[in-house]
């Protein structure tokens, strides 16, 4: 978290009693729900350090506990202002949980937070090591479409089997990339813990994410093509 943000959070005062609330969910003094600080990040919201290794069960437990306290149902009888604050906080809680519980989105988010990745960025250039695979796949897809147009059922069936084999291959590659991502994420946490520079890891994580997104798109295309039958 940046210095300036910490400062802003410290300056936040309770809208109801005026006590220092420091950006917490509830005022430590009067217990009223507090507005969201403008730039609060998902890790801070959950009270977690910016680490990539997160225990799924622990995260879910925090999520449930915060849901009980922040959900608009709990404020149905409260003032209009408090209902609105609860809506904002609960929405942020759900958005944060959706992002943090997914190991891939978690990395994307951390990079974005560090100014190293723009949201939704996916490089559509094929990574060099995938070029051969992509070429092969496109060939099969093209032949399959051609065969369908010509009504060649026999050819289509054999091409379909070929495509299914390609799909298998892609799924295996996806699993490998996920493993690679997990290793890089662990390296990030280790660097944080030992006080080493995390800078070199940004590029590595970005590359893995780009490759992953590319393979995922291929998997999706093949899946749709197979489902079209």
């Amino acid at each position: 978290m940046s210095e300036t943000q910490t400062l802003t959070s410290r300056e936040l005062h309770c809208w109801s009693c005026g006590a220092a609330a420091g950006g917490a969910h509830f005022c430590p003094s009067c217990g009223k729900i507090q507005p969201l600080p403008p730039d609060i990040d998902y890790f801070t919201f959950f009270g977690l350090p910016r680490r990539l290794g997160l225990d799924a069960h622990a995260l879910e437990a925090i999520y449930h506990e915060l849901s009980w306290r922040l959900h608009p149902d709990r404020f149905a009888q409260a003032s209009e202002a408090e209902r609105r604050l609860s809506l904002d906080r609960a929405a942020q809680l759900n958005d944060a949980f959706r992002t943090l519980r997914d190991p891939v989105r978690r990395v994307e988010y951390l990079l974005w937070l560090s100014g190293r990745r723009r949201e939704g960025e996916t490089r559509q250039q094929a990574p060099p090591e995938l070029l051969e695979e992509v070429f092969e796949l496109n060939e099969v897809l093209e032949e399959l479409r051609q065969a369908r147009r010509n009504g060649g059922d026999g050819t289509a069936a054999s091409l379909r089997r070929q495509l299914e084999a390609e799909q298998q291959k892609l799924e295996t590659m996806l699993a490998a990339v996920d493993k690679e991502l997990a290793e890089a994420a662990a390296a990030w946490d280790r660097a944080l813990d030992s006080g080493a520079a995390v800078e070199p890891l940004f590029d590595r994580l970005n590359q893995i994410l780009n490759r992953r997104s590319y393979i995922r798109n291929l998997v999706e295309n093949v899946r749709q093509e197979l489902a079209a039958d």
């Binding site: 449930h64 506990e65 849901s67 009980w68 959900h71 608009p72 149902d73 709990r74 149905a76 009888q77 809506l87 904002d88 609960a90 929405a91 942020q92 759900n94 958005d95 949980f97 959706r98 939704g120």
Partner: protein
Amino acid sequence: MARTVGIDLGTTYSLVAYVDPETGRPQVISGPYGTPLCPSVVSVDPDGSIVAGEAARRRLLTQPDRTIYSVKRLMGRGVEDVREEQKLFPFRIDPESTQVVRVRLGERVFTPPEISAFILRELKAWAEEHFRDTVDRAVITVPAYFNDAQRQATRDAGRLAGLEVLRLVNEPTAAALAYGLHEQQRGLVAVYDLGGGTFDISILKLISTTEGDIYQVLATCGDTHLGGDDIDNLLLGIAREEIRRQFRVDLEAAPERIQELRRVLIRAKHELSQAEQTRVVFPLDGSVYERRITRAEFEDWIAPIIERTFGPVRQALADAGLQPAQLEEVVLVGGSTRLPLVRRRVEQFFGRRPHTELNPDEVVALGAAVQAGILTRGAQPMLLLDVTPLSLGIETMGGVVAKLIPRNSTIPASAQELFTTGVDNQTGIEIHVLQGERELARDCRSLARFTLRVPPMPAGMARVEVRFTIDASGILQVRARDLRTGQEQGVEVRPSYGLTDAEIERMLEESIEYAEQDFAQRQLIEARNEAESILHYTEKSLASEAAAELADDERTRIAAAATALRQAMSGTDYKQIRRLIDELNQATLPLAEHMMNRVLAATVEGRRLEEL
């Protein structure tokens, strides 16, 4: 203290329920016909008065052009959307309709929320009669797969009926709440909800925490135009075709007859859930259409309709990342799940026997009541975490949709987006919000358009942050903030298929006007009825022996008062009628006295006889 109820505003039937404070159990409220099922039918009388429920349903046969059913199919939809519906349903869409559909009933024109509001008012009246207390707040259920416009239309209907809508709850989720209270279920649950007009599937995870039970929806999917109506229309199509072939009779020109036939066929459908076969008998001019339908034949016909439900079921499971066999419980909701074929297919699909313990017609209303109890009194330690059924996005360059909130996100959910200007001195940025899963804006559902105001400055300098929030009812809220000034900006969202606040205000005013008119109408009817009975009683009394004791002027006074009352009865001034009823009452006092004396005398005589 005013009460809060839970309402299931259904396609075919609507119900109202509440949580009994003594037992903590939800309970449905029965209406004047002794059943909790209120037909979702509204009818407009030639005199302008409106009836809803069973009374309106009876008019489907006598006044089909003044009566409407299945209006839920029109909620939140545009004229273009309902073209198909018009072939199957006798909706008379007003040709003047622009984006929001307007329906013609007799001389008057209504929007679907106004019509739904009449059904809600009827249920509100049932509940008020039951409690002998006012009801001003409600939780109303909607199909899980309803989009933003359909949800807004439902909330508008509540508002028009004088109800503060505390929350819209998804029907399958409500059912899960009711079942959870009933069975104390845990784990992964699928709710399969096939109603009169809509189909929903929801996958839930029930979690026990130290604070209480969390009902977390993992995924939902559905079809807002798939239900028992489709089966009825299919049967109707078959029967009409057979009638045309066998008797050369086309029922097209006789909407009353079609409604009659529809009723006969619905009865046959119900019978086939119990019996192996049924007989349809429908008299025609000079002949009779008669036909035996076996269950096997019926199931052959409807199988394609039932199969359509499994597309959304597979999608929801895939979104939740689950296989059918992983579900620990399956719950059936909605009247159409009484069909044996549905039960068999669901059991086959999930590999386990589905729950049917709670009445499938009532379970959604019971769940709505539970949620109403949670919201008003914190009655149950339960928390509902529902999802948005459709992805939310905005239109970008080239008509492509940028997704901001993916489908099946837990609600409330939000997304922020930063906007800037593309040309120098541009003062407005147009935003188009959409809902749907497709890539292109034209394939998605348009929700709303709005314009962000910016002061003139060089291109790219403006910085407006827009926050899109889907609230716990699944309805979109938009807020904008100028990042340079930190000022919040009011965003006037023009709903693409909904009513604006101004329109609702106007309707509310009108409905109050009409309410006054309706009130006067009711007063008139009551006054006439009362006049009728007092005139009848007076006549009878004048013919009795006691009348002989009347003085001439007394007799003249009665006759004059009776004549005046009779004349007033043909008018519409109920106050005048009331005044003349009082006058006649006064005039007949001496007559009543004579009669009373005779009765007393007779009693006394009787006593004497006994004493002897």
